[in-house]
Symmetry: C2
Amino acid sequence: MPDDDAHLIETCLSGQDLVRSDFLTLRRDTVCLPSGGQASREYLIHPGAAAVVPVMELQGGALQLVLERQYRYPVGRTIIEFPAGKLAPGERAFDCARRELREETGYTAGQWARAGQLHPTVAYSTEVIDIWFARDLTQGARQLDPGEHLDVFTATPAQLLAWCRDGTVTDAKTLAAALWLQQWMMGHWTLDWRTDEYWAAAGEQRQESTP
Amino acid sequence: MPDDDAHLIETCLSGQDLVRSDFLTLRRDTVCLPSGGQASREYLIHPGAAAVVPVMELQGGALQLVLERQYRYPVGRTIIEFPAGKLAPGERAFDCARRELREETGYTAGQWARAGQLHPTVAYSTEVIDIWFARDLTQGARQLDPGEHLDVFTATPAQLLAWCRDGTVTDAKTLAAALWLQQWMMGHWTLDWRTDEYWAAAGEQRQESTP
């Protein structure tokens, strides 16, 4: 495999927004291919998102996960997923994770760990999702957006993994989080847990991922 | 948790295509919310896709995976991913998996197993990706589309999992496939291997996932 990316990289020659709505911007760029030709690339501009794996530790050490069940109109079905949402303008990924957990489930967390990042659709969206783990949970009242309808429920890691296997769980961020959960529970991957106050004060800035 | 989905389901009242290009269709529907109000849903119509986990079995039983490295313009970086591609009109997921493996890597496979399905972006795309495993590989010549530039290389499952942990791999379908790979290698999840001829003759039809 070659040492660098020069033979793969595409560079922008020109571009225009095809649609710009309240929800999303669709863009078309003309790019220069590494071979010298040109091609069109159409993609959505997305602000980025954060997803949360909320872990409750029961007496005896058993774990319970907080999950959501929500009708997702584009795929025409109810989807089981971890709490998640889009970054508000200027919002950091941690602040988004904390806000979405509180708004959608009512929970606040005493400890947080940043797991990894996920690109759901590299072919046609700039979206990147930060995956966070949350524990030391305290229940409060949830504050759903107008028009937002979702169930909150708990399941064991074994239940979640069974649902990933049998096709009950098909959501990309939830499958990626299940990989992290499985590896963390086996002791193969470590999570760097810090207090809520640590992350709130940290200068953690979202890394740029758009062209 | 309630027994059924009636309190979650959104139904279409009207809709229109906002953009229809060679690459994609962006649509906006007005939906009736379960609470009785109305909302807008904007989403991409996607034909669906198939991804392949190509497994080479070395002498002694060690496994090597065939992977790709490709510049993904929307996210502005080179991405490591399993071979994958969109369904052609009327194409079945297995036929797409077989075609993409051959075109992008040159490999054909004697045996295939269907792992699961993945919805990369439930909020704004109808896309569903079928994940297939392929083994008993034979190398041939690849046939890239015009303007397609990608490197093909091999890695061990341990290398892939290390890259999932350290952020080198962020592609959603590849992370979901890594969960399947890990569970299969541990003997927790089983794959129902069948010959290429079996799947080619099977009446396997893609399940509808659009509203």
